[in-house]
Amino acid sequence: MNMEMMQVLAKAIVCGCSALGAGVSMIGGLGPGIGEGYAVGKALESMARQPEMKGTLTTTMFMGCAVAETTGLYSLIIALLLLFVNPFVNLFGV
């Protein structure tokens, strides 16, 4: 196998592993969905107990959901970077 073929093979392996990594990183997107749903459930329970606190609870949950959602966003960004920017392709002289 000549050098050129070796380089093509190495590049293909790196691209494949990057695609796998992107898929695995998207597992992180599951958490916020579950967490936000749970938070809303608990907030509704609290509102039923103390209706006068609804405004404060809504604002706090609103901000909390935005913060929780960032975790999913990070995994999406990592997946996109692995797929489109391919930072590992040029590593090791591939």
Partner: protein, 133 residues
């Protein structure tokens, strides 16, 4: 009560839009300093910032809608929020793929502003502006 929730969402979205806008300008300045400032970067940054604010507004609307349902509809509220989250994520994914695919849009500059809401909330918490309410 419903109108109050809407007003809160609009107020918070305005505050977020200001923060995301300011951070996007700082990002563009950094791009200019490192010598990578191009029209594609400006378009990408504008797209990313607009989507970040839109995403925050949609989150707020969904939270306001979910909290306006009665206690016995807890399952419905949970499902509403999960569906909204998934739709917003898909929208973000589509936007990012378009940004990376189009030659006149810088993909990285489009992705970076999407984490600015988190940073802005951190700043607001740090300065005590969230706790004041």
């Amino acid at each position: 009560m419903k109108k109050n929730s809407q007003n809160t969402v609009i107020k918070e979205t305005k505050r977020m839009a200001f923060g995301v806008g300011a951070m996007t300008v700082i990002m563009l300045i950094v791009y200019a300093v490192i010598g990578r400032f191009t029209p594609a970067v400006v378009i990408g940054a504008a797209l990313g910032a607009c989507y970040a604010v839109f995403n925050f507004y949609m989150l707020g609307r969904t939270v306001a809608k979910a909290t306006s349902v009665r206690e016995q509809d807890e399952q419905l509220a949970t499902m509403q929020l999960r569906t909204s989250y998934q739709m917003r994520m898909i929208g973000m994914l589509v936007l990012c793929i378009i940004a990376f695919a189009l030659p006149f849009v810088d993909g990285l500059a489009c992705v970076i502003p999407m984490v600015f809401p988190r940073l802005w909330i951190l700043i607001l918490q740090f300065t005590g502006q969230i706790n004041d309410e």
